[in-house]
């Protein structure tokens, strides 16, 4: 079914899933969305790693975050310089061990990496959806992921796992379809965003919408792209995903160009400026602005307990799975206190839960980084998930 069985012979190392190739599934039936509108048909781009066992009991769903996609592990070609976004945690012998588990990683609807989203064609008009793409909620992703589950004939996930916005989807799974998962792993996430978080997202959206090339979201029809605004949005976001200490350590006040000595002339550029600009430009070249608007709004609107009288304990009382919650000390976008709120609600709801707060200075991005203690704790929990197959 997948290509990575021969990975041990590749130059990528024995702990890599090796070369993988994305697949596409087309769904003909309309998908009813939380906003009341229907998506008449849609495509999902996905990757799988490992083998689905005969009992179909070893399946793991990976839910991606704001700027994530289906390519979570391995390489698309032998020349690829970078592996998938969560290669640190998915592969033979890694926490999500592909020798044990069948891993499904999809690009969510509304995304811009091949699944149906604002940049794909609206069948009704023959033009890109653009700003007319229906607004999405987290639960819409759960619904579309459920269609994928049915396609593979999986009745229950061994685990649904996600970091950040992905963790929000994993928690939503535990409430909407309590029988459909045995374990829920929630990393660097929250039950809802804080005002500060929403504020950062609004600045990002403002940067995109005020770019003259945005054209009210119809930039594709104008043959343009609001790259400047998107790059700014990414730069702002990126700062919030790092920590002050992390930036100090990585860049300090090092100069990329020029000289700060008195009498020196010529432009001065700090390393951190150059880095941010590079990140912004790279992102603007590969991400769709409407998708960024849609994803940040889904983030802002997410409130786990809203329909349970704003009582997270009442919300989690519906869950039937076990939970593992992980946070990182320097993450100020999804701070440890937010994770602790999840844990407290789960304890009060009498649900099995474990929690680790990992010492790390990488900020929110820490969940993507192979920090030894993070890998050890995550791996220890996943070994438990593997025992129940």
């Amino acid at each position: 079914m997948t290509e990575q069985q021969h990975a041990t012979d590749t130059p990528f190392g024995s702990d890599s899933v090796g070369i993988v190739s994305p697949q596409t599934l087309h769904f003909d039936q309309p998908l009813m969305l939380a906003c009341g509108r229907e998506l008449p048909e849609h495509d999902i781009v996905y990757e799988t790693y490992g083998e689905l066992n005969a009992a179909r009991s070893n399946a793991i769903l990976i839910c991606h975050a704001l700027s994530g996609h289906h390519h979570a592990a391995g390489y698309h070609s032998a020349d690829d310089r970078k592996p998938g976004w969560w290669d640190s945690c998915i592969g033979p012998g890694k926490p999500i061990d592909t020798r044990k588990f069948f891993v499904l990683s999809i690009n969510n609807i509304g995304g811009c990496h091949g699944s149906t989203g604002p940049a794909t064609l609206n069948p009704a008009t023959g033009k890109p959806w653009g700003p007319d793409f229906p607004p999405l909620r987290c639960r819409d992703w759960v619904e579309s992921q459920r269609l994928m589950m049915a396609h593979f004939g999986i009745e229950q996930w061994a685990a649904v796992i996600g970091g950040s916005l992905g963790g929000m989807q994993a928690m939503r799974w535990s409430l909407e379809y309590p029988d459909a998962l045995r374990h829920c792993v929630v990393i660097a996430s929250a039950m809802k965003l804080s005002a500060q978080n929403i504020a950062f997202n609004e600045i990002a959206r403002n940067a995109i919408c005020s770019d003259p090339a945005f054209h009210g979201g119809r930039y594709l029809e104008h043959g343009t792209s609001p790259k400047q605004g998107l790059a700014q949005a990414r730069m702002i976001g990126h700062i919030t995903y790092l920590s002050e200490d992390g930036m100090k350590e990585k860049f300090g006040r090092d100069l990329k160009a020029g000289d700060l000595k008195l009498g020196a002339s010529g432009p001065v550029e700090f390393q951190v400026e150059s880095y941010l600009r590079h990140q912004g430009e790279r992102f603007a070249g590969s991400f769709d602005a409407n998708t960024y608007l849609l994803m940040t709004k889904a983030l802002d609107y997410y409130d786990l307990a809203r329909e349970y009288d704003d009582d997270p304990v009442a919300a989690f009382s519906h869950a039937k799975c076990s939970f593992m919650v992980i946070s990182f000390t320097s993450d100020w976008r999804f701070a440890p206190d937010r994770s602790r709120e999840i844990v407290n609600a789960l304890v009060a709801a009498d649900k099995p839960v474990s929690y680790a707060e990992i010492e790390a200075n990488h900020g929110h991005d820490a969940f993507l980084i192979p920090i030894p203690r993070y890998i050890a704790v995550f791996g220890a929990y996943m070994s438990r998930v593997g025992e129940g197959l």
Binding site: S322, R340, V343, N344, V347, A348, D350, P352, V353, S354, Y355, A356, E357, R373, A376, V377, A380, Y381, S383, R384, E387
Partner: protein, 196 residues
């Protein structure tokens, strides 16, 4: 299995909800889950212990007991256990108070500083005891609040705490015998089952 853990087993009812403060590597909760089908939750601060407990299938939450149990609701556990951690706490009496708020019953075990060897060491050498059981120097030790069996019972009296059962383990890793008559002199580890 540590004898204090074996001793407290009969005090915990099958299927009980147990919170273990300073659960270490999860040994007690694993035993109670296997033998008494309890639903257990451990609080622990040491990273390696947390990983080992997770490997054992024990649910564990990273938590510093010195920050209290404010996150836990009143009477949310049948039993709150704390084995050999009392002496490491900043404010032991406040944690005991919290334990009795969160759990209907509590079990506390602690090293008895009233044991004759400690008394002998202090009177003979005039220095704080360092032994196989308490291997730390006074200035670099996790044990900052030693107490004796008598001290603990006075605290229970002051706090209106009921002692349901108590026992001590002597140097030969046994309980009963002479130690039952002279717990503060012959007990190495004290084991108390208490409630409000």
């Amino acid at each position: 299995m540590r004898l204090d853990l074996t001793l407290i087993k009969p005090w915990i009812k099958p299927g009980a909800r147990v919170l273990d403060l300073g659960c270490g590597d999860g040994t007690l909760l694993k035993m109670l889950a296997d033998e008494k089908q309890v639903s257990g939750l451990g609080l622990e601060i040491d990273p390696d212990n947390i990983t080992t407990a997770l490997h054992k299938g024990v649910n564990v939450i990273e938590h510093d007991l010195n920050t209290g149990l404010g996150d836990f609701r009143d009477d949310s556990f049948d039993v709150v256990v704390m084995t050999l951690a009392l002496q490491t706490l900043r404010y032991p009496h406040l944690v005991i108070e919290e334990m009795l708020r969160v759990g209907r019953e509590c079990i506390v075990t602690f090293p008895n500083f009233g044991h004759w060897r400690s008394r002998w060491h202090l009177s003979r050498h005039g220095r704080m005891p360092v032994s196989k059981f308490l291997p730390y120097t006074w200035y670099d030790t996790p044990n900052i609040h030693f107490c004796t069996v008598k001290d603990f019972e006075v605290l229970c009296q002051d706090m209106n705490i009921r002692i349901l059962h108590s026992s001590v383990i002597n140097g030969e890793n046994r309980h009963g015998g002479l130690a039952r008559r002279f717990p503060n002199l012959l007990g190495v580890t004290a084991v108390y089952h208490i409630s409000k």
